[in-house]
Symmetry: C2
DNA sequence: ATAAACCTTAGAGTTATATCCAAGGTCAAT
DNA sequence: ATTGACCTTGGATATAACTCTAAGGTTTAT
């Protein structure tokens, strides 16, 4: 039920130092301490950490993540309208990110689909040249 | 057709310093220089910059972005197979990010849909409490 | 022809996000 | 009761990604 810092770190692939850093910065405090002061993390703490790592991996800063977490933890201090407003703002940001990723992925797929995959130089991949004429990889958002 | 550093920076919402930094780090060199040495960026340079900014905003590091750009620019040096391999790897990473974002968004949508949006304390948002019981915001990936 | 608003380089400083280190306490196994 | 693997804190160090400063050159408008 409870993990020491090293165990939780290992489970989610971060370092113990990172967990101490998150605690110092208000993102994730262990729900308990042992008598001798060891940090003890619960399953819920682990879920919070997963949330932090997922959010981080898709480009949210720790400051943004902290805002969402404190919203969830300090609900008493917020009106429903405030919650809804912030949450909807984040949702819009996420939708934008998803669209950007999809455009990104489509452009890479064209490249991959067209690429023969063999030993010859990529210079002669005709589609690569087509993309070039059309602004290369980067002209997707035109 | 060509922009000075300040003009391009302004168009895409970054600083001139950032563009010099990207040049120094091999991400984006202006395609020309004026007689007096001023950087002159083309439309294609602008598209490359858009690409960089989009990739950055969805969590790719400058090192990763540089790798994709140099793939596009130094095609001569790569075999088709190499191109396909790297591109498919990036595509898989993008798919993962998209899934994470979608899970993230779904969890926020539940919260938002259920939240009355009025003045009363969010503490009494029943769905918030339900989410709590189920591991809060973070239990989505269970 | 001079002021304002650009631009140049080289290098120092800043912020976010960790990561490492030193000196020491705790715990389980021998 | 001691070894080895944990853990504690506080503070220094590291890395990515900018951001700023100093000293000066260029361009455009008045």
């Amino acid at each position: 039920m409870d993990y020491q810092i090293g165990a939780l770190a290992k489970r989610l692939g971060v370092s113990a130092d990172t967990l101490r850093f998150y605690e110092k910065n208000g993102l994730l405090a262990p729900s308990k301490r042992s008598e001798s002061g060891y940090r003890l993390y619960s399953d819920k703490d682990q879920q919070t950490l997963s949330f932090i790592l997922r959010a981080k991996s898709v480009g949210f800063s720790l400051a943004e993540i902290k805002e969402l977490i404190s919203l969830d933890q300090n609900k008493v201090d917020f009106a429903c309208g405030d919650v809804k407003e912030l949450v909807d703002l984040k949702r819009a940001q996420i939708q934008t990110k998803i669209s950007e990723l999809q455009a990104f992925e489509r452009s890479l797929k064209v490249l991959s689909d067209a690429c023969c995959g063999g030993d010859e130089s990529a210079l002669n991949c005709s589609i690569l040249q087509t993309l070039e004429d059309d602004g290369g990889l980067y002209g997707i958002s035109k």
